[in-house]
Amino acid sequence: MAESPGATPYPGTFARAWAKAVSGTSYLPMTQAQLESLLDRLTGQLAGALLTEPFDLRAGHRVGAELVAAHIASAEGLGRTVEVIQLRLVRDLGLVAEDVEDRMARLLAAVATGYARALRDRTLDEQESIRRAAMRARTQAERALRASEARFRHQATHDPLTGLPNRTLFTERLAAALNEPGRGAQRVGVCFLDLDRFKVVNDTLGHQIGDLLLAIVAERLRKAMGEHLVARLGGDEFVILVERTGGTDDMVAVAETALAAVRTPALVDGHELQISASIGIVERQVAGANPTDLMRAADSTLHWAKSAGGARWALYDAERNQRELARYALSAAIPAALERGEFYLDYQPLTSLRDGSLVGVEALVRWRHPELGVLRPDSFIGLAEETGLIVQLGGWVLAEACREAEAWSAGGAAAPFVSVNLAVRQVHRPGLVQEVRALLRQTGLPPERLQLEITESTMMSTAEEPVRALRVLADLGVRIAIDDFGTGYSNLAYLRDLPVTELKVAGEFVAGLRSPSVGRTDERILASLVSLAHALDLTVTAEGVETAGQAERLRAIGCDAAQGWHFGRPAPADRILARIR
């Protein structure tokens, strides 16, 4: 850039010297030519100040301030400026004035003063502006931190799939509802909801469809529940928190609404899915309630709804829960009880209706419980079946029955067979054949003196393995009986495939023989069953025979054998055996 037009050569010389002196003292955002041009202008002002009457200090102040404004703003910049003005200004410009030294001193003082003032202001301004920037940056960072904390908190308390609150948030809200001061007398409720057969959707249509379905259900529940908190606990489990209820009716209404919301068919990716849910309801007073108990109660109540067939709600029942807890405790004690030998067998006679002889005995397991006394099978077998402990327990019964029965033949007379109940799980378990074979070998019990009782439901499965196993056992000579015939499945087709030896007709048909009106029908059914059985070469044993009259009529229709109090209650083996000796 060119020097400013009209600059005289003399001031130019001084301005160049000045520019050279301050170069490098601080960063100057201009070219050397621009700098010289600026300083040339200031030189004019300084010269003017030296010569003008009266002497005006403000000119010096202005020059000092202008230097700072032009960023010639450092201690060195000032020092060199003072030096170059003092040494060269008067000489280079050829200035002539009275008391020029005096004026020069005052001018330099004014330049330095103006310069220092401007630099101080500038420093304070810059400090202020950087501090303000730091503060603003910090405010922004804090705001961002709060936003990210809120985001983090949201992520930590919500389920990403459905956007619903998750277990963490639900637990917090439940605890807060229970701990809120002054709420002790009020009531709180929880609906624990689970989709019925959701696994089938996942297994057949894939997890993607399953997830979409969950999102739909979540959205429907959220809409239908309004103010009540709906959370997803995981999988297809949802929970609804009703923080204030007026009683169980309120909760039932909430549950009905939820069931209705789920019930509408859902269109997911072209599949119309008919879904239903089960709900466990717990409703109780806030005082004395705690979240863990409440959730556990809701969970077991949900299972009642499920086991009742689903698509329904169930209301928590403390007594039922107590019973279930007791049953659970009992089932958990079975393995230890087996080890301690707390189980034993009683036998109930199966008596021939032709000649009154003892043809067999049914082994019935008993539990001599250290605290509860002797327990009958109906108080623990069902549970053992649910938990799978039946395999262990049933195995023990089978072994014990074979062991005891073998000893009976020592009496000489035709020893009775022993009839042992097999649970579904036992029949379906691989290795049944080997187990029975080994027992027969170990005890020496002849196969025809062992009868295995299976229920009709055992045959409901389409699996072939159990049928094959039973056929092998039958070929060995083991007797196979169908227990409780006529009350369950009663599909006669399996009689064609199974090597059955005997039908045991359920006691309820026999019970009917007491009253003449119903009795006629039952008697006809029994007669038909007997003739059917005989046509198939099977024997028939009637269960639950309690009177001589019943026995007489059964004999009249050709029933082969009978079992029941009329013929003898279950008793230890030696007492039964006394009858044949």
Partner: protein
């Protein structure tokens, strides 16, 4: 990763900031005690430090002038730091008020300060981003709004690349930027070089900058030249910054004392 990527920065003015240290070298007062202490330690180790900053700043000024004269009206200044004197938009908009400038810096205080300086200037904006994340810079809505990448842009990577270690692959970062530019765009690059420096000086400088968030990675002329890959270097190539088209022959004297090397490249095609 310990901290999720959306977690915010923290502001700690007890920790020296390279942007505010640079301001101190330039004679500014936009700095705090910790910045001054670190800058003074640097000056003790490398007495030319203030000269370096000034020389680099003058290089920036001359480069912007040159590019504006060449018709460039869009500037992307990455690592712009604390806006002190002679900012890109001041230079460019003085020549053409319609020149558009986007500043990018990673330091939240520098960004907050820039935002204040730029308030009311429709043609200039600052975004908080990291040179090490060029995709984010290019995709930033403010960048997209102000700059038309189908037209030539001058990308300024001035006095910042020595804060990018080789592990962060500076060549790839520059390539990403280059690939987004239209033909006729420019790259202005400068950084601290260790050519002709003693091992002691380098070690001491590195020690000072380890106190900041930005450790130092000095590079040789050859390394810097290689970073212009894809650009045609303008004369006189990669040189000590005072040697790059000096205003006066004297101002290029003792150029190696400036420690910074730089150059300007043009994207052909």
């Amino acid at each position: 990763m310990q901290r999720p990527d959306w977690a915010p920065d923290t502001i700690d003015i007890e920790r020296p900031s390279v942007a505010r240290m640079y301001d101190y070298y330039l004679g500014g007062s936009h700095n705090f005690a910790a910045d001054r202490a670190a800058a003074q330690a640097m000056v003790a180790a490398v007495p030319e430090a203030p000269l370096m900053a000034q020389a680099n700043r003058a290089f920036l000024r001359r480069a912007v002038h040159h590019l504006a004269d060449a018709g460039i009206r869009q500037f992307l200044d990455i690592g712009s730091g604390i806006p002190t004197v002679g900012n890109v938009h001041e230079i460019a908009q003085q020549l053409d008020p319609q020149s558009r400038v986007v500043y990018v810096d990673v330091d939240p205080v520098a960004v907050a300060h820039s935002r204040e300086i730029l308030a009311g200037n429709e043609q200039a904006v600052v975004v908080q981003e990291d040179l090490r994340n060029p995709e984010a810079i290019l995709a930033h809505p403010d960048v997209r709004k102000l700059l038309d990448l189908s037209q030539p842009v001058a990308v300024m990577v001035v006095a910042v690349l020595h804060f990018v270690s080789d592990d962060d692959r500076p060549a790839e970062l520059l390539r990403t930027l280059r690939d987004a530019l239209a033909p006729g765009s420019f790259l202005v690059l400068s950084q601290a070089s260790d050519d002709g420096r003693s091992e002691d000086e380098r070690a001491e400088a590195e020690r000072v900058y380890r106190r900041t968030d930005n450790p130092l990675s000095v590079r040789s002329r050859a390394e810097l030249t290689a970073l212009f890959d894809g650009f045609e270097l303008l004369d006189p190539g990669v040189v000590w910054v005072p040697q790059w088209r000096p205003d006066t022959p004297e101002s290029a004297e003792d150029a190696e004392r400036a420690v910074f090397m730089g150059g300007v490249g043009r994207l052909g095609g």
